[in-house]
Symmetry: C2
Subunit: 202 residues, 2 copies
């Protein structure tokens, strides 16, 4: 008996195993699934993901991901430019869009302040926020961050940065459950917490 | 409010969503994970999977997947050519190799007889089995198929095909739990059921 080495399979499993939440057993199952598909399907699969990574852009205004220099939300004449909704990441934009209860603009931070993980305010899209508020002449900034210690820290930090500006700073109503991430909140709850947003208080 | 369309992201999510067990939420998470990686990583990821699909071969003797025309097991002079272990698919070969208790050859059927799913014996690598037994001058055929109705049906069918040949037909000892697939059986149990294999009886 010796180890049977299947280099091609081993490489494929290793690559799939890099995905979050995909262990070696699942990676093997996925690799064998791809093997059972038409060559054209697997080529489209691989090339679509490569093209996605290589061609995606970040909106120069709100930092949301976009196919173009300015994302569809920022480019839309129908959106209310008086409202800026500050979110942690791209999935939160999708979650709020899915509620159908918000027609303002977004500002995507690209994460949350987290000293333990070494993420400081300078690594997030926070410094550009005051300038953007003035440029859009926004009347209100909605802090739509998760109800977690990192989310609270980030809300507090941003509130302090904005306190000299003539802008109303609100936060999501605590209809969202403590400890939850936005993307897992049901649309009704998330929509209601947008409607019931309250003044940010220390 | 209008639907924000992100074609590149949507395409990537759609492709990942084709994988078994990966829903749309997970696909979105995986797509955003790929976005956070270096371009080179994503290119290697996609191209490895495409190369895997395009370059993998099936061993012309045992139908196991292989980098070469003859797989490492069939090519090895150390394997006992008197034993042929009949398995449903490639993962079962790996499971048995991992027990370290088998040093014979394999014969991969590529599935199980399943009339409800429209899989008949002619779609599996069964017809080539008698010829292979004669060619290798095999003394024993071990039916290492799952203890499921489909596995039993397939074992029975193969046993009938081989009954005129001067070969001992054995099956795995019922150490494997009824209803289980081989790949999930722990190595000790699977190894023991190989040692304790018994004559195939109707």
């Amino acid at each position: 008996m010796e180890n049977i080495s299947l280099r091609l399979l081993e490489n494929a499993v290793e690559e799939l195993n890099k995905l979050p939440g995909i262990g070696r057993k699942t990676a093997l199952r996925l690799a064998l699934f791809l093997l059972s598909q038409e060559r054209e399907m697997v080529e489209r699969f691989g090339n679509t993901l490569i093209g996605f990574r290589n061609n995606i852009r970040y909106c120069k205004h709100c930092h949301n991901i976009s196919d173009t220099e300015t994302c569809p939300v920022c480019a839309s004449p129908k959106r209310d430019r008086g409202q800026l909704c500050v979110v942690s990441d791209v999935r939160d934009v999708m979650a709020i869009e899915n509620t159908g209860m918000y027609d303002g603009l977004y500002h995507v931070l690209g994460g949350l302040i987290n000293p333990l993980a070494g993420i400081s305010p300078s690594q997030l899209n926070i410094a550009s926020l005051p300038g953007r508020i003035q440029q859009e002449n926004a009347q209100e900034v909605i802090l739509a961050l998760p109800a977690t210690p990192e989310g609270d820290t980030t809300s507090f930090y941003i509130f302090r940065q904005l306190k000299e500006l003539p802008v109303r700073v609100t936060t999501l109503a605590k209809g969202i459950a403590i400890g939850d991430d936005l993307e897992y909140t049901d649309e009704l709850t998330l929509g209601r917490s947008l409607s019931n947003r309250v003044e940010f208080k220390l």
